[in-house]
């Protein structure tokens, strides 16, 4: 790759393309400043979270403007590519971050909201960078920004029992070690890819012939890193433990944002770099593990009683569904993968928001028993939860249903029918997983034995309302963005 392309000065387009990322990067500083100046307490908490949410809303506004004005193109010498693809992923990531931020006040850590909000936003920044990254360095940079903030977030539990604290630290450490190892795989893969081409630019990889062993090994190691971060089956074991140990807002955040960021990298790699012949030879293991993930994820969820663990396993399977849409690299498949990712964000974050309202404090966070009798105690919340769970299970009348239909259609178009079959099988298993919670909510119980729900904050209600509305509306107007094919040039 000619070095000249990377030489400054950069034009105004370069900076305007990165404007949303800039907003997300700078807002936490303001939030931290406010956190520093104001005395601890309810007003400070509100203001810090308000600043963060406002920053993300601003980023979303700019992203929508960028999509509408359609001035797409590469920025910073092809380091970052602004396009429908990166905007779609960035929108999903920002929305997930907002809803996760709204869950923060339900936790007992009243004096930690400044750092938590800042870390969460910087982590978001990493995912946003990954969605637009078009060279290996940028991908790695985004990944590290995303992960480093998350390691801290996982361990941030201050006011909790010792057991709970130990769990959280265990989660953080486990995440740090395992994730670093995956990063190592990925980095080694990148090094080999660099060796094969002499360039960190993704475009250079397109020209490499299939028989180049360096290239093949590089792609293999790279994909192992991807599979680990997305949580596909042989590399998924860290996920339930980390999700269970981490504080609820961090879990909700991770369940969408890390996966979305990595999925974006994988999709760009798949659509931009690998030619169809590469596809079959190099990527079929990913389709295979996606298929296995649908089954194993749902089987693993069968016996979980902790909501966070359950949703971790369910997330493994859900990502398998999304990858099924990507199989065969069709344009429609890409659109439906992004559509389903958006739907997954809404239904999953919705379920987490309800859990945040139901779990009284971080002591016994999210055990399923908290849901028993919810149907009589709090019919609206129970109905919303049932709705999200039906959507996760792919039952009507929810967006999850139409999302599955679209994925199935795309597998029929591309001919990956065996993935469709596994999807059906996995979904059939998952019915029990999700409906079991619905059952717990609606089976008549003696109300005397059930504790009231008194959430520390009512902010997650916003998440519940928006997510249920979105889950309902997308069923009837499945708007999948056009122009979402990732470009590298």
């Amino acid at each position: 790759m000619p070095v000249q392309a990377l030489v400054p000065p950069f034009g105004s387009f370069d900076y305007s393309a990165l404007l949303p990322l800039g907003i997300v990067a700078v807002t936490p500083l303001i939030g931290l400043l406010a956190d520093l100046i104001m005395p601890a307490g309810e007003p400070r908490r509100g203001i810090v979270i308000g600043i963060s949410v406002a920053g993300l809303l601003g980023a979303i506004y700019v992203l929508v403007r960028q999509y509408v004005s359609h001035q797409f193109g590469p920025a910073f010498g092809y380091g970052f590519i602004l396009g429908g693809f990166s905007i779609a992923f960035n929108l999903i990531v920002c929305a997930a971050a907002i809803f996760s931020l709204l869950m923060v006040p339900t936790q007992r850590d009243d004096d930690k909201e400044g750092p938590i909000c800042a870390l969460m936003m910087w982590s978001t920044l990493g995912a946003m960078l990954m969605a637009g990254a078009a060279d290996l360095m940028m991908i790695f940079l985004g990944l590290e920004i995303l992960s480093l903030a998350l390691y801290c977030l996982c361990g941030m539990i201050a006011r909790a029992s010792d057991v709970r604290k130990r769990e959280a630290r265990e989660a953080a450490l486990k995440y740090l070690i395992l994730s670093s190892m995956a990063t190592g795989f990925m980095l080694y893969g990148m090094a080999l890819l660099f060796g094969a081409t002499g360039s960190i630019d993704l475009v250079a990889l397109q020209a490499v012939p299939l028989s180049n062993p360096l290239f093949d090994m590089g792609v293999g190691l790279f994909l192992i890193g991807v599979a680990f971060k997305i949580g596909l089956v042989p590399f998924h074991v860290w996920m339930p433990d980390v999700f269970e140990g981490a504080p609820l807002p961090a879990t909700a955040f991770m369940s969408v944002v890390t996966k979305a960021g990595m999925l974006a990298v994988f999709a760009r790699f798949l659509f931009g770099i690998l030619s169809p012949s590469h596809d079959d030879a190099l990527v079929w293991p990913i389709w295979a593990v996606a298929g296995i993930s649908m089954i194993v994820g749902n089987l693993g969820a069968l016996h979980q009683t902790d909501m966070k663990r359950l949703l971790a396993y369910s997330g493994i399977a859900q990502l398998g569904y999304i990858l099924a849409a990507l199989a065969g690299t069709s344009t429609l498949g890409m659109r439906y993968a992004i559509f389903y990712l958006g739907v997954y964000m809404f239904m999953n974050i919705g379920a987490f928001s309800v859990t945040a309202l139901v779990a009284r404090d971080s002591e016994e966070d999210a055990h399923m028993s908290a849901f028993s009798g919810l149907g009589t105690r709090h019919p609206v919340l129970a109905a919303a939860m049932a709705f999200f769970l039906l959507s996760l299970a792919g039952l009507p009348p929810t967006a999850g249903f139409i999302g599955k239909i679209l994925i199935l259609s795309s597998t029929v178009i591309t001919g990956y029918l065996w993935l469709a079959g596994l999807l059906i099988l996995g979904t059939a298993i998952s019915i029990y997983v999700y409906v079991k919670i619905i059952r717990a909510m609606y089976v008549p119980v003696d109300l005397a034995h059930i504790r009231e729900i008194r959430p520390l904050s009512h902010l997650p209600w916003i998440g519940v309302a928006v997510c249920s509305l979105a889950t309902f509306v997308f069923e009837f107007y499945p708007v999948a963005l056009h122009d979402v094919l990732p470009r590298i040039r």
């Binding site: 429609l332 659109r335 019919p379 039906l390 792919g394 039952l395 009507p396 009348p397 249903f401 139409i402 599955k404 239909i405 679209l406 199935l408 259609s409 795309s410 029929v412 178009i413 469709a420 079959g421 059906i424 979904t427 059939a428 019915i431 029990y432 409906v435 619905i438 059952r439 609606y442 089976v443 008549p444 009837f476 499945p478 999948a480």
Partner: protein, 479 residues
């Protein structure tokens, strides 16, 4: 008007939850009023000049799909029966937490109305799954054993998922799923069509149910609260048969012929197996459940002999079976409310103190066993004539065995409950109240009406042309 019927029932059903939980009687009468309004609306639609179709675009990619509602002759028959059964079931409802119960029943009715009225495969698949949810919630909320509820849900959703996959495949290949009621359509390629039809068929067979996919059914029917059992047993079980008629016949004519031997066999195994088990079953609800298996097997066979008479008979029998099954479940609900059991060994000699109950039971039992003058007979006669005419004389003869057995098991239930020695330890309870009689009267009236004037169950010939009987008969001859 159709959109208002389906959407109105669903929304009014949802609105039931706005009533205070203590308003149990209000909720019941609200439910009856909504269901009755729907019934009246349907009765005023003339099948010979049906109201216009209503259609709104849903999906454009990867295939086009519309919220398309339309009422053809066959939909008309089933929807009428559905509204009637729901009204009667709600009239007979007396359960704890009645508000929630009524709300769920109305949503069940709304989703099934949509299922039988939609002209789009994808909407059909959507409602196919959607109608399971109210039933499942009714099961877990009103003390059905969890294992039964799970078996019901998992069996049916698995079928529904195959239906979904088949629908997606059909849509992608054919370009649109707005295909129901469009007459005979150009067939799909041979590579795909059998598999797609197989996906549909499994869903239909589970839902009906047909032997050997019936194992969820007896417990479900035995444990559901009586009004729900009436609606599910009478109407939801017809969704699969309806699917074979309006989706299988016109869209997959050749493959239906290909599948016919297997499905005829399954239908006949169910016909005989159901009849024999019903003969030995000790619980009245399960007798009705297995008799359903038997009768529905006969209807399935009637569809798969590809004969116009058999098909007309199947439609009449679908309605008749719905009416008498609903009546039987409602009646058994009354018996259980009085005696707290429906085991044959525990009950006896009710007729002496409860003559009205005995009389009602007699009518329902006689309708089930196909007494001339009641609706069941008309359907059975047409089906048997059709099967004979299609060249399966010996199959018609075998079906007769099951019809004779029907007399045996239904009379066994009637005799066991109503006659014989009175059980000494059985509580003495009053006879049917006027309101309870009112819940049964419309069903009996419809049974007699169709039995005496079978003409009113005749639907416009164009309805049969729509599902392609005539060309199918030609296909049959050319084969």
């Amino acid at each position: 008007m159709l959109g208002a019927l389906v959407g109105g029932t669903l929304i009014l059903g949802l609105l039931t939850f706005a009533l205070p939980p203590s308003a149990e009687r209000t909720a019941k009468w609200y439910g009856v009023a909504v269901a009755l309004a729907g019934l009246i609306l349907i009765l005023f639609m003339n099948p010979w000049s049906p109201p216009p179709d209503e259609s709104t675009r849903w999906l454009s990619y990867p295939f086009s799909s519309d919220y398309h509602l339309g009422i053809g002759g066959i939909s008309y028959a089933i929807v009428e029966m559905l509204a009637l059964c729901t009204t009667c079931a709600l009239l007979a409802t007396k359960v704890p937490r009645q508000r929630n119960f009524v709300g769920l029943m109305l949503m069940l009715e709304g989703s099934m109305l949509g299922l039988f009225l939609t002209r789009d495969l994808l909407v059909f698949a959507l409602l196919w799954d959607a109608m399971l949810i109210p039933v499942f919630l009714l099961m877990i909320g009103w003390s059905v054993h969890p294992a039964t509820a799970w078996r019901f849900l998992i069996y049916n959703v698995s079928g529904g998922l195959l239906l979904l996959l088949a629908t997606a495949a059909y849509g992608v290949i054919y370009g649109t799923t707005d295909v129901i009621g469009k007459g005979i359509l150009p067939p799909l390629s041979d590579a795909w069509a059998p598999w797609i039809l197989a996906g549909f068929a499994v869903a239909f067979l589970v839902k009906t149910p047909v032997w050997p996919l019936h194992t969820w059914m007896p417990d479900t029917y035995a444990e559901l609260p009586a009004p729900v059992a009436a609606v599910v047993g009478a109407v939801q079980s017809k969704a699969g048969l309806y699917g074979f008629i309006v989706i299988g016949l016109p869209l997959f004519g050749a493959q239906m012929h290909q599948f016919a031997p297997a499905l005829l066999t399954l239908g006949y195994v169910g016909l005989l197996y159901g009849a024999f088990v019903a003969l030995t079953e000790g619980e009245a609800r399960k007798v009705v459940a297995y008799s359903s298996l038997s009768h529905l097997g006969l209807i399935l066979a009637a569809i798969f002999v590809f004969n116009e008479y058999a098909l007309r008979g199947a439609v009449v029998y679908i309605v008749a079976h719905g009416l008498f099954t609903a009546a039987l479940f409602i009646l058994l609900g009354f018996v259980e409310a009085r005696e707290e059991t429906s085991a044959l060994s525990r009950i006896g000699g009710l007729a002496r103190r409860n003559p009205k109950l005995a009389g009602a039971m007699a009518i329902a039992a006689l309708a089930t066993l196909g007494l001339p003058g009641l609706a069941g007979f008309v359907g059975e006669l047409f089906i048997l004539v059709g099967i004979y005419q299609a060249g399966y004389g010996w199959l018609a003869a075998v079906a007769l065995i099951a019809i004779i057995l029907a007399a045996a098991y239904m009379l066994r239930v009637y005799q066991g409950f109503m006659h014989g020695p009175e059980q000494a330890d059985l509580p003495q309870r009053p006879d049917l109240r006027p309101l309870e009689l009112l819940a049964l009267a419309p069903l009996f009236a419809a049974l007699v009406l169709i039995g005496v004037f079978p003409g009113i169950a005749r639907y416009p010939d164009q309805a049969y042309a729509m599902i392609g009987t005539t060309p199918l008969v030609m296909l049959e001859k050319s084969r």
